[in-house]
């Protein structure tokens, strides 16, 4: 009964979304206030209906109602409660329901937060949202109905893929979707602006907080996914350039570029049509990502639902949304008024460089991800593009990006002083050289380029701090004056500083974990010692025990360094029965300097009684995720800027103290 209510609510949501997608659009075109006013209540009602449907499905999962085919296929009565709940989105149908729920949530938020929004613009934005929602609701109802009944009712369910039964993965998809789907707002604003033929700073101020929020969620989502892959898959790596990882990374790159170019539109009214294009691209990549994962055109460990009919449906949605918006762009964008002019050496110029490099990086990832598909389509056979390609193309683009990232914020708007900016970065340069030389000495005989990469991270970190010191005139003005400036500096400026510093931390982690990683694979009998990176791990043998819905064997290791006891590690293998699968739970000792990571395998065939033991030492690896969290924190900090909350009038006040610092704001 509750399931039928959910199904009905979903159908109602589709009707409401169709109304939301058409009536306000027509109203805005005709200037009909009544039809324009329909947008908000329709968006709110649509959200409530989808929330109801989602609650109904969650109820079915929590109560293990196996008369629903979806629950029977993906849940099991013996599963812990948290995985019953996360099981709702651990499958194709449920994850699509979560997708539209978040989409409608954003529509709801625009409807309640958008009081200052001009009514016609707001109506158009919500209408575009409604159209996207209608497309995906139809997709769910016609090809992936989560409320389908099954008869006879199975006694128990098939269970959730054990590898997904993990707290990290329970919250990873919601964050990822908040990011993916969050870009729909920027997209809707871009399409609405194209329809209106007007892009101005007020428009950019509306788009930025939504983009920023989506970007933060996506940053956290990607970091969570990477961390999960690191500790759960037992391969010791943190990023695999897997098509599905790339599918989430590409919108992130586009979103990062969008954040920066939207700032230019806001401050200087330049780069308008480019910003519009980026907004369309960021969401288009989210849609393409959804298509890649859901249709199974690319095989991947993640593609858990592959069905050509579904793929075709999503492809049609893609063509309608992306093709439609890009057609509109081709027609309307040339009519947008050109904005302010600027010198190549300026803050705007820096943002353009940032955008060019990020777009190039995006293009390389896009090509690498889809190349197998392109090749197969022309009959070239099946290939897969792996890490070597991405390392060879992506990394060289990141180097100038990071180098310039340090300088850009020090340049003034319109016309900057490169020599002056570089002069103020002498400390950063000195730090970079010092770090490079120190690391070089410490890792003598290791990879040659890695110390330089560490120097680059130091360059960015110190330059970001130097820029902050400059902004508050630290050590130049009296301390009280600096404190006053620090207090008055806009939160958006703090956000930038924090996010850039977080990037530096993450880069240091990526370099460390890639360049100086140590891997030892060895067959070990109880009592044997495995040596890796200065640690000695004594294998104490394996014992069996039982978890909530699995049995496990755990291999104990006593870790010492130069005879001194460090810690004890227990690496597990878990044996699930519903469905039958073995998962590896690596034992990890995390420190700021590096992770000691141990995984055990099965009995080795040729040496009875011995286990395959894999030990990794991943230097600085935890910095990657800490850096990502710092970046996301920077985004959130920027999101609390009063300029974004209150709107145009407060802007001048927020700018005042910075204006005193010269031309830089």
């Amino acid at each position: 009964m509750i399931a039928e209510l959910g199904h009905f609510a979903l159908a109602l949501a589709l009707a409401l979304a169709l109304a939301q997608g058409t009536l306000p659009l027509i109203g805005a075109q005709r200037g009909d206030g009544v039809w324009i006013a329909l947008a908000k209540p329709l968006a709110q009602a649509q959200f409530l209906c989808i929330a109801l449907a989602f609650a109904a499905l969650t109820h079915a999962y929590v109560t293990s109602d196996f008369s629903l085919a979806n629950v029977a296929r993906n849940s099991h009565s013996a599963k812990p409660l948290i995985y019953k709940i996360s099981g709702v989105w651990g499958n194709h149908e449920g994850s699509m329901l979560l997708w539209v729920l978040i989409l409608a949530l954003f529509g709801f938020l625009v409807a309640i937060a958008g009081r200052n929004l001009p009514p016609a613009l707001g109506a158009r934005v919500l209408a575009i949202q409604g159209l996207i929602g209608a497309g995906f609701l139809a997709f769910i109802l016609f090809t992936s109905n989560p409320f389908e009944r099954v008869f006879p009712v199975p006694v128990d369910g098939n269970g959730l893929n054990p590898i997904l039964q993990d707290p990290g993965l329970a919250i990873h998809p919601p964050f990822l979707y908040l990011g993916y789907v969050g870009f729909s707002i920027a997209f809707a604003f871009a399409v609405a602006a194209l329809i209106e033929g007007r892009v101005d700073p007020a428009w950019a101020r509306w788009v930025r907080p939504w983009t920023l929020g989506a970007w933060c969620a996506l940053t956290i989502g990607i970091a969570l996914g990477s961390y999960w892959a690191y500790y759960e898959l037992g391969w010791g790596g943190w990023w695999f350039w897997d098509p599905v990882e790339n599918a989430s990374f590409m919108p992130w790159l586009a979103g990062t570029a969008l954040l920066h170019s939207a700032a230019v539109v806001e401050k200087r009214e330049a780069l308008k049509s480019w910003t519009i294009l980026l907004a369309i691209i960021a969401f288009s990549l989210s849609l393409i990502g959804t298509f890649l994962v859901r249709s199974g055109v690319l095989t991947s460990v993640h593609a858990f639902a592959t069905d050509p009919a579904r793929g075709l449906f999503i492809l049609m949605l893609l063509v309608a949304a992306i093709g439609g918006s890009l057609t509109l762009y081709a027609v309307r964008a040339p009519q947008l008024k050109l904005g302010g002019l600027f010198h190549p050496i300026s803050r705007e110029g820096g943002m353009v460089l940032n955008n060019l490099l990020l777009s190039t990086a995006l293009a390389t990832v896009f090509l690498g991800t889809l190349y197998p598909l392109f090749l197969d389509a022309v009959g070239g056979g099946k290939v897969s593009v792996g890490a070597p390609y991405f390392n060879a193309t992506f990394v060289p683009i990141m180097v100038p990006l990071v180098a310039a990232m340090a300088v850009g914020p020090l340049l003034a708007w319109k016309r900057g002083d490169l020599a002056g900016a570089l002069g103020r970065l002498k400390f950063a340069f000195a730090a970079a050289v010092a770090v490079t030389l120190t690391v070089f000495a410490l890792t003598w005989g290791g990879p040659v380029l890695a110390p330089l990469a560490m120097g680059l991270a130091a360059w960015l970190f110190v330059a970001t701090l130097a820029d902050y010191a400059e902004r508050i005139q630290l050590f130049r003005a009296p301390l009280g004056e600096s404190l006053r400036r620090a207090r008055n500096l806009p939160r958006a400026s703090y956000g930038m500083t924090v996010a850039h510093a977080g990037m530096a931390v993450a880069i240091a982690g990526m370099v460390g974990a890639s360049a100086w990683r140590v891997e030892v694979v060895q067959a070990a009998r109880p009592g044997d010692v495995v040596e890796a990176a200065g640690f000695a791990l004594r294998f104490d043998g394996v014992h069996q025990s039982k978890g909530p819905n699995y049995t496990l064997e755990s291999g104990g290791f006593t870790v010492t360094r130069q005879g001194r006891f460090i810690t004890r590690l227990e690496a597990e293998r878990r044996f699930f029965t519903d469905p039958p699968q073995v998962t590896t739970e690596a034992a990890i000792r995390t420190t700021a300097l590096g992770d000691l990571y141990v995984a055990i395998g099965e009995d080795t065939a040729d040496q009875p009684g011995a286990r395959t033991v894999r030990v990794w030492y991943n230097p600085l690896v935890v910095w990657i995720w800490v850096g990502c969290l710092i970046m996301a924190a920077g985004g959130l900090l920027s999101l609390t800027d009063r300029r974004l909350r209150v709107g145009a009038p407060s802007r001048r006040r927020a700018k005042l103290p910075a204006a005193g610092a010269g031309v830089r704001a």
Binding site: L298, T299, L326, A605
Partner: protein, 178 residues
């Protein structure tokens, strides 16, 4: 028309190209895995017997007639699903089927066969999976068609279902027997 306006068409054109590839990509089944061993002679291997009175399997056994080689394990659920289909192929169509028992405990495999019936002509025990690697197997079940000259002619990944028998396996065998 202003030539600069054409620039604004570039994103759309790029998307149309990508969408075209997606459309073609959708028509293709990502699960068909070509084997590099197709049309190559069977790799060199020799496996001990599993069941008393039934010989093991080696390279030399695979020639002279068209036959199937099925890689199975008692712990593999899809193997159980395809088992009746294989049994019917062996009995009704008189197709010799040999087996490689992949990473299995011999007593489990014997019990499994006693329970479900044993349609195989020869069974080789591949306890450590080495021979299966030579065959390019990466999961169970997999089934190969070997021709009279002892060359691998077709590889089927996953359980053999009745519709696979009708659509590919039987036609292929009939063609090779001609």
């Amino acid at each position: 028309m202003d030539p600069w306006r054409l620039l604004y068409l570039v994103p759309l054109a790029a998307f149309i190209a990508v969408a075209g590839y997606f459309t073609i990509g959708l028509q293709r089944d990502p699960r068909t895995l070509p084997s590099v061993l197709i049309d190559k002679p069977v790799p060199a291997f020799a496996l001990p017997a599993l069941v008393e009175g039934k010989p093991g399997l080696a390279t030399a056994d695979l020639a002279g007639e068209v036959m199937l080689v099925n890689v199975f394990a008692s712990w593999c659920a899809p193997c159980k699903i395809e088992h009746p289909v294989l049994t019917r192929l062996a009995e009704a169509e008189k197709i010799p089927i040999h087996a490689i028992n992949y990473k299995d405990k011999p007593e489990d495999a014997r019990r499994w066969l006693a329970q479900l019936g044993d349609p195989y002509g020869r069974i080789g025990v591949d306890a450590d999976g080495r021979a299966s690697i030579e065959w390019g197997v990466y999961g169970v079940p997999e089934t190969f068609i070997v021709d009279r000259q002892g060359r691998i002619r077709y590889r089927h990944v996953g359980p053999v279902m009745p519709r696979d028998v009708e659509s590919t396996i039987l036609p292929k065998i009939r063609e090779l027997r001609r």
